[in-house]
């Protein structure tokens, strides 16, 4: 039974054809036949596409101190899906002018975060948020700083069509990938069909992002008994996990996020409809942004949803003396608004907390070849 492939726009006006032999790799054959026939619809034989194989399941490890991962039932993680997702993540074909990929703003060396305060889209316009890091993303059930979407599959739909980002269309992406000499075969290996559409692209992207797991920091090695903290790191650990530093209520061991949304006192005037409030419509959610994980925080500057702080020292000083009262400021960060000197951290204490924060760096994560650009 032939399988129809939609190769919209390629060689308009020519007739469709059936490929009955496969002397060339699939992509090359498609290209050759498309040039001859040119209709938007191609038909492949099963012989041409080769035997269907079952994708190999990938079991994502449940990390110590993490809840169970919720993976959509219609998008199980597979080796083929992950590899396809990796190719797509680094592929500039997803942007209108072929200049930007997901990795343009989510840089592996920066723990898949954006080192610039605001990313520039393909037309050079800045956004107004610092692109989030992608670290242990499999556990995040709401995505974007304001939580506007659910699973990673939903998240991946947005940047491609955002006019301030990749400014493209999903039809355009599908057309490009369907014309690619290899993508149809890669999609067939991952999903059993070579017909590329937005649903499968975001599924593959989500599968790849779920494998971006960081669990080999010094913090992890100390927990496993494989390393020891220095004096400063150990002191910082105790400050972090007691009410003196009081970081742990939002940045929990071992996730270093609570996956929740909070107003951490950055501004005194809270706009109606800002942050989570813009999604839920509740006034009490205005000005709340997603708590980022601190895993690899050393690599993810600048900090906060709007990237306003360049250094960890600035971040610590914000929580020490810079929190501003507002109608939705989180009760967890207002202790020092009492103005009592005994609650203010010393320079030495802040330095030690930062020493501990740097034990959350996982160099194997930012250099892992399995997460790197496959096109290089």
């Amino acid at each position: 039974m032939p399988i129809k492939a939609h190769l919209g726009g390629f060689g308009r006006g020519l007739r469709s054809g059936i490929i009955t032999s496969a002397p060339l790799p699939l992509g090359a054959s498609v290209l050759f036949t498309a040039l001859l026939s040119g209709n938007c619809v191609f038909e492949y034989s099963e012989t041409q596409l080769g035997p269907k194989t079952q994708p190999v399941p990938v079991i994502l490890e449940v990390l110590h101190g993490y809840p169970e991962i919720t993976i959509p039932a219609d998008n199980p993680t597979t080796e083929q899906g992950v590899e396809l997702g990796r190719r797509l993540f680094y592929d500039t074909r997803l942007s209108a002018d072929n200049t930007q990929s997901c990795a343009t703003c989510h840089v592996q060396a920066n723990a898949f975060s954006e080192p610039k305060r605001f990313s520039l889209g393909i037309h050079g316009q800045p956004g107004d948020k610092n692109a989030s890091q992608i670290v242990n993303a499999a556990w995040h059930t709401r995505n974007f700083w304001d939580g506007r979407v659910g699973p990673l599959e939903e998240q991946a739909l947005q940047p491609v069509v955002n006019p301030l980002e990749m400014a493209f269309t999903w039809t355009g992406v599908a057309e490009r990938l369907n014309h690619h000499p290899q993508y149809p075969q890669w999609f067939r290996e991952a999903f059993g069909t070579h017909i590329v559409d937005s649903t499968l692209v975001v599924k593959a992207l989500a599968q790849f992002q779920r494998t971006l797991i960081s669990q080999n920091s010094k913090f992890d090695r100390v927990r496993r008994g494989e390393a020891e903290y220095t004096k400063d790191e150990g002191d910082g650990f105790r400050l972090f996990f007691t009410e003196r530093g009081d970081c742990f209520h939002c940045h929990l061991a071992h996730t270093f996020t609570d996956f929740d949304f909070r107003n951490n006192g950055l501004d005194s005037l809270i706009e109606s409809g800002s942050g989570l409030g813009g999604i839920t419509g509740k006034l009490s959610d205005d000005g709340k942004w997603k708590t980022p994980t601190l895993r690899n925080v050393e690599f993810t500057a600048p900090y906060m949803h709007d990237g306003r702080f360049q250094t960890l020292e600035e971040v610590l000083e914000h929580y020490n003396t810079g929190v501003l009262a507002s109608r939705t400021v989180d009760p967890l960060v207002t202790k020092r608004l009492r103005g009592e000197i005994r609650h203010i951290m010393t320079e030495d204490e802040k330095r030690k907390i930062i020493a501990f924060l740097k034990t959350l760096s996982d160099s194997s994560f930012i250099t892992n070849p399995a997460f790197s650009d496959p096109w290089k």
Partner: protein, 279 residues
């Protein structure tokens, strides 16, 4: 709170002791069927006599603080049923987690209650020490924030009650009423070590009820949020002890004693819809 959270109370294990009455199935074969009663618990939260409303409503406590509530999560465990002479008739070795913002998590069904007369019921607020072990309870997005750091003794927050209050000076600040077992080493800031157990057993509440097999009962247990701040200790959010409650033994002591005195009450008991004594 956001609607994506996982539902409901957590039932980790159920140990049923003695006094299980059984009967065979109507057909006289197959597995034995246990003829027991069930209770659908409904946990309700109020401030004084008003239903608790999160975020926007300000209440007044005994110290005169005007305060709102933004979060209320807690553990109850070890539900125990007693006879007339305070003998233990049944004990459910179960830990339940309640997020007061989530109506579904404020319900819990206890099954397999042996028929018989029960005089009182009680439960543990928080966790018994043998259950209060770090990382021993399942984690989900609702319970994720409940662990109590090992640096302060480990285990779990028994309760996180948070909100805002209007300070003496007129500005609005947050308060954190966090209760758990506190263990601190002697150090520069502390002249002696602290090892404080802050779980408690709620005063037994009168049931005086015959549980009949195959009947499901509905039972309401109420928490008065103001009770945490009233008696015997008037708890003031302006006071020093309320700033860092977790590591302040005085605050933990006040909250534990207030909790014992008058936070939980047994409300209405009724038959569940569809349950009749004709069974």
């Amino acid at each position: 709170m956001y609607p994506y959270f996982h539902p409901a109370a957590l039932i980790f294990s159920l140990l049923l002791p003695i006094l299980i009455s059984t009967c065979t199935s109507d057909h006289g074969h197959g597995p034995e069927e246990v003829a027991t009663a069930s209770i659908e618990f409904n946990f309700v939260h109020k401030v004084g006599d008003k239903p608790l409303q999160f975020d926007s409503v300000f209440y007044k406590n005994a110290a005169g603080n005007d305060y709102s509530v933004t979060e209320l999560r807690y553990y109850l465990s070890n539900f125990t049923f007693y006879g007339h002479e305070d003998e233990v008739l049944m004990q459910a070795d179960t830990v339940i987690f309640i997020n007061a913002r989530e109506p579904e998590s404020a319900k819990w069904v206890l099954r397999k209650i042996p028929p018989g007369h029960y005089h009182t019921i009680s439960f543990v607020f928080g966790l018994l020490p043998e259950k209060n072990i770090s990382m021993s309870l399942p984690l989900n997005n609702e319970t994720l924030t409940m662990p109590w750091p090992d640096a302060m003794g480990g285990g779990y927050h028994f309760m996180k009650l948070e909100g805002r209050f209007i300070r003496d000076t007129g500005d609005t600040l947050g308060y954190l009423t966090h209760i758990g077992n506190l263990k601190l080493e002697k150090d520069i800031a502390r002249t002696e070590a602290v090892n404080q157990l802050n779980h408690f057993r709620a005063t037994p509440m009168t049931l005086h009820l015959d549980f009949i097999k195959n009947i499901t009962y509905q039972m309401t247990i109420g928490m008065d949020v103001n009770g945490w701040y009233s008696s015997p200790h008037q708890y003031d959010f302006n006071a020093d002890y309320s700033v860092e409650t977790m590591s302040t033994p005085e605050a933990q002591n006040y909250l534990r004693e207030n909790g014992k005195k008058g936070v939980f009450t047994l409300g209405k008991i009724s038959l569940a819809p569809g349950s009749t004594h004709a069974h």
